[in-house]
């Protein structure tokens, strides 16, 4: 539908959100992203039955971890949408971008692992 959404959103394709591992989300923050959202099918409509439900639990757990380390759990989110809902996709992209803008850049960008 060619609906405009912010260009800072970049998509990493997975066959199902069931593949999205907590570590992948954490790694994304390590590499310096400011926010991550997992876009899964509508609940009850997972092509693989319940991958999106598993993903939601993991996202909740990552929220806790990010709170623990002081990045803020609100930097990660789970959204559900169906393949035909372009508007919804664009809307979440905008919402999440707005949210991250208001939070500012991830504080974990300051330094990289430097010790040999």
């Amino acid at each position: 539908m060619r609906l405009n959404y912010p260009s800072n959103v970049k998509v990493v394709k997975v066959p199902c959100t069931g593949r999205v591992d907590m570590l992948l989300i954490l790694k994304a923050f390590e590499s310096g992203v400011d926010g991550v959202y997992v876009a899964g099918c509508m609940e009850g409509e997972c092509h693989y039955l319940r991958g999106n439900l598993r993903a939601r639990r993991r996202v909740e757990q990552v929220k806790k971890l990010l709170d623990e380390v002081g990045l803020g759990g609100e930097r990660v989110e789970m959204f559900n949408m169906s393949a035909s809902q372009g508007q919804r996709f664009a809307q979440f992209a905008r919402e999440m971008t707005e949210r991250i803008r208001s939070l500012g850049p991830s504080p974990a960008k300051k330094n990289k692992e430097v010790l040999p």
Partner: protein, 222 residues
């Protein structure tokens, strides 16, 4: 299996103090199975540390490694070359593993990242429950296969206290009354007469009260 709980991140940070070269060491046995110290959890903790220090703008080096078992010397010894590069080893094994690693790499600082809690079973994916306290003298044949020592809040050997209510323990409504379970099992198996026998006072020497225990099997020794 041995079941544990990950320590709070804040507590781990505090224990690490100024150390910034950290080897996060997992164990591929019980703690992997109970989702607290396997390779995935090692990854999560390592990632948390990196993110935290990145955020703090500090220099650091975090290495992830998972041993087949932290309670066997040979496995521990295999990473000797690696350990030299790190200030501390953050062990995600049970208390036994932490100590054995500490023993192998003294005087290097070994920090536990896991609180070892109990010997238990998996009730369902993500839920574990205590079953044994290692008293060294098993009597569950008398009690319908349910251990009153590990599963009764008061370790009563001769029946439920007055706090058993609706099958639950007085300490909270989520905890089963072990004696209710025992009575149910004995009833089911037609062995209620066993309940009438008075269990004599227990000899705790076989348990931890007899001091640290050691087991030797002569035939297996080299």
């Amino acid at each position: 299996m041995i079941v544990g709980n990950r320590k709070e991140f804040g507590e781990i940070l505090e224990k690490l103090g100024t150390a910034r070269r950290v080897l996060v060491l997992g164990c591929n046995e019980c703690v992997t199975v109970c989702g607290v110290g396997g390779e995935r959890e090692v990854g999560v903790l390592a990632s948390e540390l990196r993110l935290y220090w990145q955020k703090e703008g500090q220099d650091f080096a975090v290495k992830e490694h998972t041993l087949e078992r932290q309670c066997d010397y040979e496995y521990i010894d295999a990473i000797r070359p690696l350990t030299g590069e790190y200030d501390v080893i953050l062990s995600m094994a049970c208390g036994a593993g932490v100590q054995y690693v500490a023993e192998a790499y003294k005087p290097r600082l070994v920090i536990p990242a896991v609180n070892t809690t109990f010997l238990g079973v998996t009730l369902e994916q993500g839920v574990w429950s205590e079953r044994c306290q290692g008293c060294g003298s098993c009597i569950v044949d008398m009690t319908g296969g349910v251990c009153p020592i590990a599963r009764c809040a008061k370790s009563l050997l001769n029946g439920p206290c007055g706090g058993s209510s609706g099958g639950k323990c007085e300490i909270d409504r989520d905890t089963d009354c072990a004696w209710q379970l025992i009575v149910d099992r004995l009833t089911e198996s037609g062995q209620m007469e066993r309940y009438e026998e008075i269990q004599p006072v227990k000899d705790w020497r076989t348990g931890r009260d007899g001091g640290p225990r050691k087991r030797v099997r002569e035939d297996l020794k080299l």
